[in-house]
């Protein structure tokens, strides 16, 4: 059912997109303009599809809003491995995917890749580390490695399918714990070692779930929140055990 709907929307979009593609060289579209994070959000599959007027490699880059993470180097103290000083990294996107129809290094030269920000290093361009000086000098490399291992950053040289001379598509699986905000999706067409066309898309991740609102209140009004939760725990525990005792006795 789902695939049918996707194919239908693909066909619909294409009739409209064809005319524009002649001028731009590349037109892309998203299967969903926005994603709503409900309480039962377990991730979302997004389809990026479009047409290209020239032959060449299609590159799709998705970058989410930033989210702070903490890094800590394991250090050895005697026989024990303990956490070293904590370094907070701010400004690094929570999620970054670089998908292309052929490996990026084949499609574009190093300078061109850098110019268009088509490397994971470039994704960390706005990031900064805050912690004791010298605690983790190689935090960029460590962050990239950890993010890639957790699947939050991904480079896939065969992630974009070229369906025929014009059509392309790629599937992006967003995980469950993604930040809300505007996601930037850039689509490039590379030919002869240069970018010949590009298109920009926006994906809005909306509507924080009840849990996320709760977390925000817990941070912004922490004392009121703490008092409320603790008193709720007290009342809940008391009433539950009184109720249960009454129930078992009856």
């Amino acid at each position: 059912m789902k695939t049918l709907a996707v194919l239908l929307s693909l066909a619909c979009a294409l009739t409209g997109a064809r005319a524009a593609s002649a001028a731009d060289g590349l037109t892309a579209e998203l299967s969903h303009a926005h994603v709503e994070i409900t309480s039962h959000f377990t991730g979302k599959r997004i389809l990026v599809y479009g047409v290209r007027s020239h032959p060449g490699t299609v590159i799709v880059k998705l970058v989410s809003p930033p989210e702070e993470v903490n890094l800590s180097r394991k250090i050895r103290v005697g026989p024990f491995w303990v956490n070293g000083a904590k370094v907070a990294v701010r400004g690094a996107p929570a999620i970054a995917y670089l998908s292309s129809s052929a490996p990026l290094k084949q499609a574009l030269g190093a300078r061109e890749r850098e110019r268009y920000g088509l490397t994971l290093d470039a994704v960390l361009g706005g990031a900064s580390a805050h912690g004791p000086p010298g605690a983790l000098p190689d935090w960029r490399a460590a962050l990239l490695r950890l993010k890639e291992r957790a699947g939050y950053y991904r480079v896939d040289g065969h992630g974009v399918d070229l369906l025929n001379r014009h059509l392309f598509r790629t599937i992006i699986d967003l995980p469950a714990d993604i930040p809300i905000g505007r996601y930037h999706i850039e689509v490039y067409l590379a030919h002869g070692g240069r970018v010949v066309a590009h298109d920009d898309l926006r994906l809005a991740v909306l509507q924080p779930s009840f849990e996320r609102r709760l977390a925000r209140i817990a941070h912004r009004r922490s004392w009121a929140f703490g008092t409320a939760v603790t008193l709720l725990a007290l009342v809940f525990g008391l009433s539950l055990s009184i109720g249960l005792r009454w129930f078992t006795r009856a």
């Binding site: 702070e68 800590s72 491995w81 709760l214 603790t230 539950l240």
Partner: protein
């Protein structure tokens, strides 16, 4: 069925958390130990960040021990006069404990500290439980013949000597205050501290066992109440879903434990718990000794 814990920022299995609560409730009713010292490591093993595990354990203790404390109060097992200086002391200790936790968490060392402290405490508790239950099984009905000794010279020279009629003892109010302050440090790392406070009340304050248990539990509710509020206020570490699920599980555990204790001798349960605690200590030790797969760890940042 997995649920997302909004403050811990992790997915956990609903039934696993409910069963953790159940085990803790069962232990507290069948053996009279709070079980907080088992809950925090279990939560950490399930992927909950150490600071959230410790803070939410304190919240869970509030909910689980409130009812028990109330029935002790009604039965007259609470020495309120003794509990007041004890509680003031434990509030001082608890505030210090949460501040220490905050400093350690900011520096990224809280998890390591928790592993070390739990390893030491759990091993000590397990060894003493093992010893106790072996002794009890050997004696079987001989009755504990240890007569309380006379008050030592040092404590009788402290100022503000007061009569505590419910316990039938005379002490300086500084004594329960000091003990409360020392034991009050523990809830900041998720331990109730009843397993330390009850023996101290019996052997140092010479309180009758029943009154010691009741008064300790009464103090515990209000100590963990403050710790829970402070942990949320300062460290943003109390997860509401986790707390309520643990309380729900533990209240049912208490009901099962009450029935179970009528069927199974406490010594055997104690022995079983000692084995479990040793297992948890060993797992913590392995975690500290084994080489990490990757030398840097990543955790969700606090906004």
């Amino acid at each position: 069925m997995d649920i997302f814990l909004p403050l811990a920022h992790v997915d956990v299995n609903l039934w696993l958390i409910l069963s953790f609560g159940g085990i803790i409730g069962l232990l507290s009713s069948a053996l009279g130990v709070g079980g907080g010292f088992l809950l925090t490591p279990l939560l950490i093993f399930s992927g909950v960040p150490p600071i959230v595990a410790a803070a939410t354990s304190a919240t869970q203790i509030v909910g689980t021990s409130a009812a028990g404390s109330y029935s002790h109060l009604r039965l007259g097992n609470v020495d309120v006069k003794m509990a007041v200086p004890g509680l003031l002391g434990s509030w001082v200790g608890a505030s210090a404990g949460v501040w220490i936790a905050r400093v350690l968490e900011r520096g990224g060392h809280f998890g390591t500290m928790v592993s070390f402290v739990y390893m030491i405490v759990l091993t000590t508790v397990a060894v003493s439980m093992f010893w106790e239950s072996v002794n009890a099984m050997r004696r079987r009905g001989a009755g504990s013949a240890e007569a309380p000794g006379a008050a030592t010279g040092f404590t009788s020279r402290l100022p503000w000597q007061t009569d505590f009629p419910v316990s039938g003892v005379r002490h300086s109010v500084l004594l329960p205050f000091g003990l409360g302050a020392a034991v009050g440090l523990l809830p900041a790392i998720g331990m109730g501290g009843g397993f330390v406070l009850v023996p101290l009340m019996i052997y140092v304050l010479k309180m009758p066992t029943k009154v010691a248990v009741g008064t300790s539990l009464f103090q515990l509710v209000f100590t963990t109440l403050l710790v829970s509020i402070m942990q949320a206020g300062l460290n943003h570490a109390v997860d509401p879903y986790l707390a309520l699920l643990l309380i729900l599980g533990s209240i049912f555990g208490v009901q099962i434990g009450t029935r179970l204790s009528a069927m199974l001798p406490a010594e055997q349960l104690r022995l079983l718990l000692a084995v479990v605690l040793i297992g948890v200590s060993v797992k913590l030790l392995i975690g500290l000794l084994s080489m990490p797969h990757f030398p840097v760890t990543m955790s969700a940042g606090v906004q």
